[in-house]
């Protein structure tokens, strides 16, 4: 647990970067600090490992006042990930990851072995270990940055906009993998971002800061979306708050309908027969994984991959109301596709059924 008690940072010019911040980042959870530039989120993060010294107030990690610890020893026990990785250009990937273990006096063999295991853990091929950072893509470098921060298995991780320098597709991939990794590792994480969507996706709790380092609201993402403290938070959260809030509401048992399916590569005539007068038919592969919708009336020959309408999203059974509703809304047939954990089709659901489930929730529930 990391606790800020009335922490203030005033720079020599008189600018207050952080004004009386009190906050607890619980053990094993992700606490996201989010806010516009100048809100002191990075300053707050750097005060935890004393890269910046607070002007007043105390920061404790598991009850120990950080001001009483040796800065370098403190830092070796805290993983730190920054934007674009901050890798050492002159060291191989493996040596980059082994940095902190070596500083802690582990043997070279053991440090490298741990580094190699971590590379695998963050989804990088072992042979990349021999390369230098400039030989890796931005996304790969960012993974190395995460591996390096994890190398000495620190209980605490600080992350400063770690995914903002990569393109949106890679970013989403990195975020998903980060959440999967955190589910396994259960680190105490403080994560800084200016991107509210990222904050809502990753945070167990989100702290919204205002310029001058003032905490405006600290809440779970669902609570934040359902009940913003004031106009500033509401504006910062942006539009579609009701819809986005559904992402945190598990879908109850929805009335599923059986969906007739046709196998990819079947003759279009079969598709038309199975569709039985409906304009759209769902195409699946051998494992009953939905591939997309086909329109038999306008096709000839066999149903091919490039015939498929790709617009529809697929929701997981037991997933969120948002995913279920989106599946229905985005499907050309208006029937939302639901799959099980293995990705095979379990049935379809209509938007009205999802909306009925939303209506049945207790009023004022923060989703």
């Amino acid at each position: 647990m990391i606790s800020f008690t009335d922490v203030t940072k005033v720079y020599p010019g008189g600018t207050t970067a952080v004004g009386g911040l009190s906050l607890v980042a619980p053990t094993g959870k992700i606490t996201v600090l989010v806010g516009p530039s100048g809100c002191g989120k990075t300053t707050s993060l750097r005060m935890i490992n004393r890269m910046i010294e607070p002007t007043s107030g105390t920061i404790e990690i598991d009850g120990r006042d950080t001001a009483t610890l040796d800065p370098n020893e403190l830092r070796r026990g805290i993983g730190y990930v920054i934007q674009s990785g901050g890798l050492f250009p002159h060291r191989t990937i493996l040596d980059n990851v082994a940095t902190v273990p070596l500083l802690l006096g582990w043997s070279r063999t053991r440090s490298r072995q741990v580094a190699a295991e971590l590379l695998e853990r963050v989804g990088l091929a072992p042979e990349l270990g021999k390369r230098y950072p400039n030989q890796l893509s931005g996304g790969q470098q960012q993974r190395v940055g995460v591996a390096r921060a994890l190398a000495a298995d620190p209980p605490v991780m600080l992350m400063d906009e770690p995914f903002s320098a990569v393109d949106p597709v890679v970013r989403e991939q990195l975020q998903d993998e980060f959440l999967r990794l955190q589910a396994e590792l259960g680190k105490t994480i403080v994560f800084v971002t200016h991107d509210i969507d990222e904050a809502i996706k990753l945070g167990d709790q989100v702290a919204v800061l205002r310029v001058g380092g003032v905490l405006v609201q600290l809440a779970s993402p669902a609570k934040l979306l359902a009940d913003p403290h004031d106009d500033f938070v509401a504006d910062f959260l942006g539009r579609d708050r009701g819809y986005r809030g559904l992402a945190f509401a598990a879908a109850p048992e929805l009335p599923l309908r059986d969906e007739p399916v046709v196998l990819l590569g079947s003759p279009v005539a079969d598709g038309a027969r199975i569709a039985a007068g409906d304009r759209w038919v769902l195409v699946v592969d051998e494992a009953r994984s939905p591939l997309g919708w086909a329109e038999p009336e306008v096709l000839t020959g066999v149903i091919d991959r490039h015939h498929l309408h790709r617009g529809g999203t697929v929701a997981r059974l037991g997933g969120s109301l948002r995913a279920a509703l989106d599946a229905a809304l985005s499907s050309p047939s208006r029937r939302g596709v639901l799959v099980d954990d293995d990705g095979s089709l379990v049935g379809t659901v209509r938007a009205q059924d999802v909306l009925a489930a939303i209506e049945r929730r207790p009023e004022g529930a923060p989703a």
Binding site: M51, Y80, G86, F88, P89, H90, V100, N134, L174
Partner: protein, 219 residues
């Protein structure tokens, strides 16, 4: 050519003298420029006076400096130490800025990452900053090396034996062969030093000789 072949041992010893007189100041100058360059980077107030001050030293004419040295050092006029100290001053003058700029070329996020990982100041300097400054420093070092080889020859006017002695000898006797041999030997020496520094720099920076990733590769 005949003169050259007939005086090989003499030319060899002059070349060796020349190389030593150029090299010692280069090494000592580099060792002095590193802490000075670090100071210039570390304390912003010192940057301008240090760079300007050392830069000014380079404008002192070499002959004047060679003659001044005995007065300052209390050495004899023929003492090679005069040349070594004077050239060290020139090397420092050239390298302080180079070292400061080389250290300044290290990306800020790399320094921050190093600090955040608990790498102490000294270890960070020798393990991260200095290695990353090698390309810039070696570029400056190559200029200083060639400049030293050229300036050493001026010391012939004081009677300190090195390749420059071939010029004074040739002029005195109105005989062109030693002059030509002296010029070529100086060029060969400068070229050899330049190549060795380049080679050492490449050996110290293996990460710069790697290919970039293919564009569009997945994360």
């Amino acid at each position: 050519m005949k003169w050259f072949l007939g005086h090989l041992p003499q030319i060899g010893s002059l070349l060796l003298n020349h190389a030593v007189l150029a090299l010692i100041p280069l090494v000592v100058g580099l060792l002095l420029a590193i802490p000075l360059g670090w100071l210039a980077r570390r304390y912003r107030l010192l940057y301008t006076p240090l760079i300007a001050g050392t830069g000014l030293l380079y404008t002192i004419p070499s002959l004047a400096l060679f003659i001044l040295m005995p007065l300052i050092l209390g050495t004899g006029i023929l003492d090679p130490l005069n040349v070594v100290v004077a050239l060290t001053i020139y090397t420092v003058a050239l390298l302080v800025r180079t070292v400061a700029d080389g250290l300044g070329s290290v990306p800020d996020e790399v320094l921050q990452a190093a600090t955040a990982m608990g790498i102490g100041r000294v270890r960070r300097f020798f393990g991260v900053e200095l290695p990353l400054a090698v390309p810039v420093i070696s570029a400056g070092l190559r200029v200083a090396a060639v400049s030293n080889v050229s300036i050493v020859s001026v010391a012939a006017l004081l009677g300190i034996p090195q390749l420059g002695s071939l010029f004074t000898d040739g002029f005195a006797r109105d005989f062109v062969d030693p002059i030509v041999v002296g010029i070529i030997a100086c060029m060969v020496l400068a070229f050899a030093l330049d190549l060795s520094i380049l080679g050492a720099s490449r050996a110290l920076t293996p990460w710069l000789r790697t290919s970039r990733p293919a564009v569009g590769r997945a994360a």
